[in-house]
């Protein structure tokens, strides 16, 4: 397996929302709440999405780029209210809709990392996300560090 060792900090642009600690769910795929999710069940519902069938609830979702329309700006807040939201979003490229949605929902969001975040982080990694500091720390590697 490749990627930074545990304890390594990955820098990105200063983000939105509070600092959180949680487990990563990663794919080199894009993201829209409307296009990709069954928000009632809290799972990816788009058959062609790499995370199809996976539950995203309470996970730090690590994906490539925001896509699709305006829906995510309202939907992220509704997902938080319904307790069907990811814990945080880490994207290589957010668009304004995702940033506006994260700010509205007070959901942690970061993007514009120093490298491809979907390659640096693996599903199951324990992450500490600090949007105000613009840093993501891999605190424990999935299956490697105790």
């Amino acid at each position: 397996m490749s990627g930074p060792d545990a304890g390594v900090a990955i820098r990105g642009h200063v983000g939105i929302g509070p600092a959180v600690r949680g487990i990563a769910l990663v794919a080199a795929d894009d993201f829209s709440t409307r296009y990709d999710l069954d928000r009632d069940r809290g799972v990816f519902s788009r058959p062609s999405h790499k995370l199809f069938g996976e539950s995203y609830v309470g996970r730090i979702l690590v994906l490539n780029a925001a896509k699709g329309g305006v829906a995510s700006a309202w939907m992220l807040r509704d997902m938080v209210t319904m307790e069907k939201a990811p814990l945080a979003l880490l994207l290589n490229d957010a668009n304004p809709v995702m940033a506006q949605g994260a700010a509205f929902a007070n959901l942690p969001l970061m993007d514009r990392f120093e490298g491809d975040i979907t390659q640096a982080v693996r599903t199951g990694d324990l992450l500490y996300v600090d949007p105000a500091g613009g840093v993501v720390t891999i605190e424990r590697r999935n299956g490697i560090d105790g």
Binding site: H49, A65, V70, W74, R77, D78, V97, A99, F104
Partner: protein, 416 residues
């Protein structure tokens, strides 16, 4: 961000609680994108369809409406593209749910705030009209790319909450497509053929969108046709947004900031010219499959159909009947449905067994729940965007021309 004395006063609450929430919210978004300051806006377009806003969004709007007027004074003119539900149609589509009642709650709350609700699809040129070069706050991605590209107004994707904020502050953060440098072409594309129908134009947008896949990409497109119809360009543009999160494009010799290549590149190199061929478009449309399979529902939607397209549908259905195992849904703004009734198109569609539905688009009116309610799988549509979204709702979509959609609806199966 640099804030003016007025913006600082808003932040301090001197202009009411709504403006205080709004400017603080906008500042957070602006700083995320390194905005230097705010830019004033006169016109705001707010996306507030009932499915998208959810119960929490409705409560948020209602809480704003319940504030004393002095606490929620607007600083811009706003239209909501809240288009409600066709009560009669939805008794069939989603029985047991009072969507008309639910939608009325939001319309009422928006009205109390001073926001006009429209029933048109893309409120780009039918309701409000910013001028060339004017900054505006538009919400729907098709509206935004239309404004940036075809009107030459200046806008980022300002989704529902952010345009609600702009309504109270009269401004938006100045980043992205408010800045000259972001509006220059980043990629050069050439069509070596002329698409035959809007599904093919949509496919062109989808192919480019998938390839570029970034909000900050601005394709400049050279077309073979002398001047494509606005509806064709709209299908291309809204799929650039749908498949690639793209908010601006140029069409050389057609769009206002693209009289020639030199103008869109400002003399800078933007790489090799990519060519999209008819084969690329056919391969894209064929990739959805479904030929020969039973078609459960044909949804002509997104954008809602105009009166000319409704006339085309009525003509195609003349003397024919929709297959009894297939549902044909034809979406139109309420005003267009009324016009279709007056002209006789509505009766022609109804006589053939089709359902003319006013209100919001198919995909944004609980399409997943409708599929589950009816057990539908195979969907045909002339809108490549509907195909993109509804795949995530469990449908098996097949995008095709309106003619092929209608012929398939009559046959009860996906025709080649």
């Amino acid at each position: 961000m640099k804030l003016s004395s007025l913006e600082l006063a808003m932040l301090d609450g001197a202009h009411g609680r709504a403006a205080q929430w709004a400017i603080e919210y906008q500042q957070r978004v602006g700083e995320f994108f390194d905005a230097a300051d705010f830019v004033p806006v006169r016109l705001v377009h707010i996306s507030t369809d009932r499915e998208t806003i959810g119960d929490s969004g409705l409560r948020f709007i209602e809480e704003l409406a319940e504030m004393p007027p002095a606490e929620r004074k607007p600083r811009a003119s706003a239209f909501a593209d809240f288009r409600g539900f066709d009560e009669e149609a939805f008794r069939f589509l989603l029985p047991g749910r009072d969507l008309a009642g639910e939608s009325e709650q939001a319309v009422t709350a928006l009205g109390r705030l001073g926001i006009a609700a429209s029933h048109a699809y893309v409120n780009d040129h039918s309701v409000t009209a910013p001028a060339f070069g004017e900054a505006c706050g538009y919400s729907g991605t098709p509206s935004v790319i239309y404004m940036n590209s075809f009107v030459g107004a200046r806008c980022n994707f300002e989704a529902g909450p952010s345009t609600l904020a702009a309504f109270f502050t009269g401004r938006v953060p100045r980043y992205g497509f408010h800045l000259n440098q972001a509006r220059r072409a980043t990629h050069a594309i050439r069509l070596d053929f002329t698409p035959k129908h809007v599904a093919e134009w949509g496919a062109v947008g989808a192919i480019i969108g998938r390839k570029l896949n970034s909000y900050w990409s601005v394709p400049a497109i050279e077309v073979a046709a002398a001047r494509p119809a606005v509806l064709s360009l709209n299908h291309m543009a809204l799929n650039l947004a749908s498949y690639g999160s793209i908010a601006m494009c140029h069409v050389i010799g057609v769009t206002p900031e693209a009289p020639d290549w030199q103008s869109v590149t400002a003399g800078q190199r933007i790489g090799t010219l990519d060519t999209i061929t008819r084969k690329d478009v056919r391969d894209f449309l064929d990739s959805w499959g479904g030929v020969g399979e039973a078609v459960d529902v044909v949804a002509l939607s997104t954008p809602q159909l105009g009166i000319v397209e409704i006339g085309e549908v009525a003509e195609l259905l003349a003397g024919r009947k929709v297959h009894p195992d297939t549902t044909l849904l034809v979406y139109a703004p309420r005003e267009v449905k009324q016009a279709a009734a007056a002209i006789g198109y509505a009766k022609a569609i109804a006589d053939a067994g089709g359902l003319l539905v006013h209100g919001h688009d198919f995909f944004a009116t609980f399409a997943k729940e409708i599929r589950e309610s009816h057990g539908w799988q195979r969907l045909m549509t002339h809108s490549v965007k509907v195909a993109n979204i509804c795949e995530g709702y469990g449908y098996k979509p097949t995008p095709a021309s309106i003619r092929r959609c209608i012929d398939s609806a009559v046959a009860g199966k996906v025709l080649p």
